[in-house]
Amino acid sequence: MYLIVQLARLGDLFQTARLVASLQRRGETHLCVDAVLVEVARLAFPGVTVHGLDLAPDRVAGCVRTFGELASQPFRAVYNLNHAGLNRAVARLFPPDRVFGYRAVDGQAERDGWLRLAMRWTTARRHSPLNLVDLWGHLDPDPVAPQAVNPPATPRPGSLGVVLAGRHARRSLPPQALAPAVQILFERQCALGGNPEIRLLGSRSERAAGRELMGLLSPAALARTVNLAGRTSLPEAFACVSELGCMLTPDTGLMHMATRLGVPVQAVFLSSAWAWETGPYGTGHTVWQAAPPCAPCLESAPCGAGVRCARYFGRDWLRALASGSPHGAPLPGDSLPGASLPGDTLAGTATEAPLFLQSAVDPLGLIWHGGENDPRRAALRRVLAENRGVPPAGDRGVHEETRETVAQQRLHGAAADLYDEAQWMLPRFATPLPPPDLNLPGERA
C-alpha cells in the first residue's frame, strides 16, 4: 500500500501521473490532495483512493480526521512531493525511513538525493533535462514506461477547447493574438467533421477575456462558441475536456488535464513557461515555445525585455500553425481576421517565431522533437539516465548524439553540474532509496 502526498495545484495533480501509475502497478495506491481536487483526482486516477485535506485556514482543524485515517494505514512507502510546510507536517505522520521525496528526520527537513539533483539543474533552466512528470515518476526506482502514462494524442473530431489564460498574465496571449489561432484550429476541427464547437475555458476572472475573444471571431466561429469560463466545476471541466478534439492553451492545469485524457494539445509557452520542464506529457502534442535569450524567466521577477516573447506569436507563427510545421506557407491572401497582432510592425510581420516542438518519449521520459540543438541538455539527460539505471538514448530531435558520441567532457561537466560535493562524500546518497517492495509472486502490497 502506497501513499502520494500532492498538495499543490491542479496541474501538479495531473503531473503526478507517472508516479501514480508506477505505484498502482505494485499495489493499492492512495493520494492525498487539496480537498477541492478530490473529485477530479478520482476521475483522473481511477482505482486510487483519494484523501482530501481542506487547506482553507479556517478549516484546517478538520484535517485531524484525515490525518487519523492516513496514520492508521500500513503504507509501505509515502511519496511526499512538495517542498512546502504543509507537506512537511503531513510527512511527520510516518516513520522517516518510509518517506521519499521530502521528509523530516527528528524535526530536520531534508530531501532525497534525486530531488537534490533537480535543485541543481534548475539553476540553469534553459537546459532543463527532465519534465516534472518524470522527476516525480523516477522517485520510484522502476517507473512505468513514459508511453504508458497518458493516452497517445492523435488528431480526432471534436470541439476545440481554448484556455483563456494561465496563472500569470505574461504566460498567456491576449485575445487579439489568440483569435486568429482559434480561427485556424477551429477550421481544422471542422474539416475533421462532427460539427465542433469552440469552448472557452477558464475561471470566472477570465469571462471578460472570453467575451473579448468572441468579439474577434468570424460570425461562423462565433456561432459555435460557448463561453464556459467560470461556469464549470472541475469534474464538469473534466467531462468537457474529455470530449474535445483539440485544445489551444498556455501552460495551465487544464492543459495537463487534456493530456491525461489523450486530447491533442497545441500549447503556447512563453515567459516563464518552458516546455522541457512542464510541457504536455505524452505523444502527439505540440508546443510553440518562445525562446528568446532571456527565456525561461522568473514569473515573480519584472520583465526587463518588454515581454519580447509575446511578439513571437505573430503572423509567422500563425502560418506555421496553419500548416502544422515550423515553416508555414502563406495563408490565402495572407489576410487574417482580428486586429493588429503582437509582433506586427509597420513593415510587416515579426522576425522571431516560436520553436515548433512535438512531443515524444525516450526511455528516461518526455522529449521534444524540433527546437534548438542543446548538447548540454543531452549530457544532463545521459547522466540522469545513468543515475536511474535507465538505458541511455539520444534526445532525438533536439540533439542527435548518441551515448557513444556525447563528448565525455560534456558528460563530466553535466555530472559536476548535477552532483553537489556532499553527494560524493556522504554514504547516504550512495544508494537509491527504493521502497521495501518485497511482495512474493502473486502478492500485492
Binding site: 524535526g107 530531501r111 555530472a415 552532483y419 560535493e421 537509491p432 527504493p434 518485497l438
Partner: protein, 460 residues
C-alpha cells in the same frame, strides 16, 4: 593449490620504497574499514602513513541536523562543513608532505582541494570500492584524481578511459592480521555459543537478500542466524535476525565467520526480483571469509573466476543450488575444510591488502615516472635517527643526549615509525601529540624541544 586462477594483470614499474602516504578515510560507511586496512597494509610495506580521521568530524557534522533549520539552510551548512573538512585534509597534507594522497570512496576531499593537490604536484589516487551503477557520482569526481582504482571492469573501465581517467582494476582483499582463523584450542566457548550456528549470514538487509532468505524458512532458528543492520520491518525473517538488526563490528564479523559452519555470502541487490544478481564485482566478504579459513557459499559473480579457482569456493547460481549446497556441505565437513583451506591459501598468496597496496603504488610509480616526478619526493636521506639526534639543541646536557639515544629506538618502535620508513622529527612529534594518556619524560622532552624550536625559530 590444485588449480590456478588467472593472475591479475601485472603491475607496471618497480616497487617504490619509503613513501609517505596520506589516506583519506570517509566520514562513515562501508569504505571506512577498508581505509583502515589500507593504512595498516601500507605500514606493513614499510611506508610512512597517516590517516585523515574523517570519522572524528562525523559527530559535529551530524549535529548540524539538530538545528532543525530549513532544508536549504541545512544543505548550505553541510556544504560549508565539508569544505572545512577538505581544508583540514589539505592542512594535514601541508604538514605531512605526502608523496601520495589516497582517498577511499566517499572521502571528504572536494574539487577545490583536489585541484590544489594537482597544482602542488602531489599525486592523488582513489580506490573506488563501490558499484559504479549504484553510486553514479564517480563521473563527477573521477577526472579530478590522477589515478582511479576500481573493483569492476568494463563498461566502467571504458567509460573512464573515454573520460581520460587513468584507471586500473583493483579488487577487494583481506587483511591477514585481522581476518584470520581462530584455532579451536584458542576459541572462546562463549564466542561459539554467542556467534556460532550451522548457517549464518552477515550483512545488510537488501531487498534481494530478504526475499532469498525466505527460502530458508525451513531451517531452525538455532541453525540459521542473520547478522547486520537494515533489516527493519522484516516480518518474515524476524526469528533469524540477531540482536534486533544491530550493526555488527568488524571484530564480531570475524568471530561470526569463525564460529559458523557455513557462511552464506549473497551479494547485495537493490531489485527484489533479482535474488541472485549475477553481477560483476566481488565483495570484501568473499576475501575476508576465505582469509579466516571459514567456509562460504557464495553467489556467482562474473569476476570471481579471475580471483579464485573453481575448487576454492563453493559457488551457487540459483536458490535451489544454494539450498542443495547447504545440505551437502553440512553433511560433508571434510570437503568444507579442504575447500576453505584452499581459499585461504589463495587469499594469503594473492589477495591481501598488502598485495593491493603494492599494486596501487606500482601504478602510481609508473605514472610518476611518465611525468618525470620523483616518487618518492626528494628528501633528506640522512637516517632518521641521525636527523633526530641532529635536531636536538647543541647545548643539551650530554647525559640527556645519551639517554635519548638509548630510548629513541624504543620510542620509534612504540610510535610504529621503525618499519623501514623515513620519519622526520616532525613525524615523531605529530605521533606524540596524538598519543593519549601521560607521556614519558623522553616524550615530554621531545615535545618541549619542538616548542622550543618554534619559539626560537630553529628548524630540524
Amino acid at each position: 593449490m590444485t588449480a590456478s586462477a588467472p593472475p591479475l594483470a601485472p603491475s607496471p614499474g618497480p616497487r617504490p620504497e619509503a613513501l609517505r602516504v596520506l589516506v583519506i578515510l570517509p566520514l562513515y560507511g562501508g569504505s571506512l574499514p577498508v581505509g583502515r586496512y589500507c593504512v595498516s597494509a601500507l605500514r606493513d610495506l614499510g611506508h610512512t602513513v597517516e590517516a585523515f580521521e574523517a570519522p572524528d568530524y562525523y559527530g559535529a557534522f551530524t549535529a548540524l541536523r539538530g538545528l532543525k533549520t530549513g532544508m536549504e539552510r541545512l544543505e548550505q551548512l553541510e556544504a560549508g562543513f565539508l569544505n572545512v573538512i577538505s581544508q583540514a585534509v589539505y592542512a594535514q597534507a601541508e604538514r605531512f608532505a605526502p608523496d601520495l594522497v589516497l582517498s577511499m570512496a566517499q572521502a571528504p576531499l572536494n574539487r577545490q582541494m583536489l585541484q590544489r593537490f594537482r597544482k602542488d604536484g602531489v599525486l592523488t589516487a582513489m580506490w573506488f570500492v563501490e558499484d559504479h551503477r549504484v553510486f553514479p557520482y564517480w563521473r563527477a569526481f573521477a577526472p579530478l584524481y590522477d589515478l582511479f582504482f576500481v573493483i569492476q571492469k568494463d563498461p566502467l573501465a571504458a567509460e573512464l578511459a573515454a573520460m581520460g581517467v587513468r584507471s586500473a582494476y583493483l579488487p577487494m582483499a583481506a587483511l591477514p592480521a585481522f581476518h584470520h582463523p581462530v584455532p579451536p584450542e584458542q576459541a572462546d566457548p562463549a564466542d561459539r555459543r554467542r556467534f556460532g550456528s550451522a548457517v549464518s549470514f552477515v550483512g545488510a538487509g537488501y531487498p534481494n537478500r530478504r526475499l532469498a532468505f525466505r527460502q530458508l524458512m525451513h531451517l531452525d532458528p538455532r541453525d540459521f542466524r542473520i547478522w547486520g543492520s537494515d533489516w527493519d520491518n522484516e516480518a518474515v525473517l524476524t526469528r533469524f535476525i540477531q540482536n534486533n538488526g544491530a550493526r555488527v563490528s568488524s571484530e564480531d564479523c570475524v568471530r561470526i565467520f569463525n564460529a559458523s559452519t557455513i557462511n552464506l555470502n549473497l551479494h547485495s541487490g537493490v531489485k527484489a526480483n533479482e535474488l541472485i544478481t549475477g553481477g560483476d564485482f566481488v565483495n570484501p566478504r568473499t576475501f575476508e571469509l576465505a582469509a579466516c579459513g571459514a567456509f562460504q557459499l557464495v553467489d556467482h559473480r562474473t569476476l570471481l573466476p579471475g580471483l579464485f579457482a573453481p575448487d576454492e569456493l563453493a559457488v551457487f547460481r540459483t536458490m535451489p543450488e544454494l539450498v542443495e549446497g547447504i545440505n551437502h556441505y553440512l553433511a560433508h565437513p571434510e570437503e568444507r575444510t579442504a575447500m576453505a583451506m584452499r581459499a585461504r591459501k589463495r587469499v594469503l598468496a594473492e589477495h591481501t591488502y598488502q598485495a593491493r597496496m603494492e599494486t596501487l603504488l606500482r601504478h602510481t610509480a609508473a605514472l610518476a615516472a611518465e611525468r618525470n616526478t620523483p616518487f618518492p619526493a626528494r628528501r633528506d636521506q640522512t637516517p632518521a635517527r641521525q636527523r633526530l639526534t641532529a635536531a636536538l639543541p647543541p647545548d643539551l646536557p650530554e647525559a640527556v643526549r645519551a639517554g635519548l639515544g638509548e630510548e629513541l629506538e624504543a620510542l620509534l618502535h612504540r610510535l610504529e615509525l621503525d618499519r623501514g620508513q623515513d620519519p622526520t622529527f616532525d613525524d615523531v612529534i605529530a605521533r606524540l601529540r596524538g598519543q593519549s594518556g601521560v607521556l614519558t619524560p623522553l616524550e615530554t622532552t621531545l615535545l618541549f624541544l619542538d616548542e622550543w624550536r618554534k619559539q626560537y625559530g630553529k628548524k630540524s
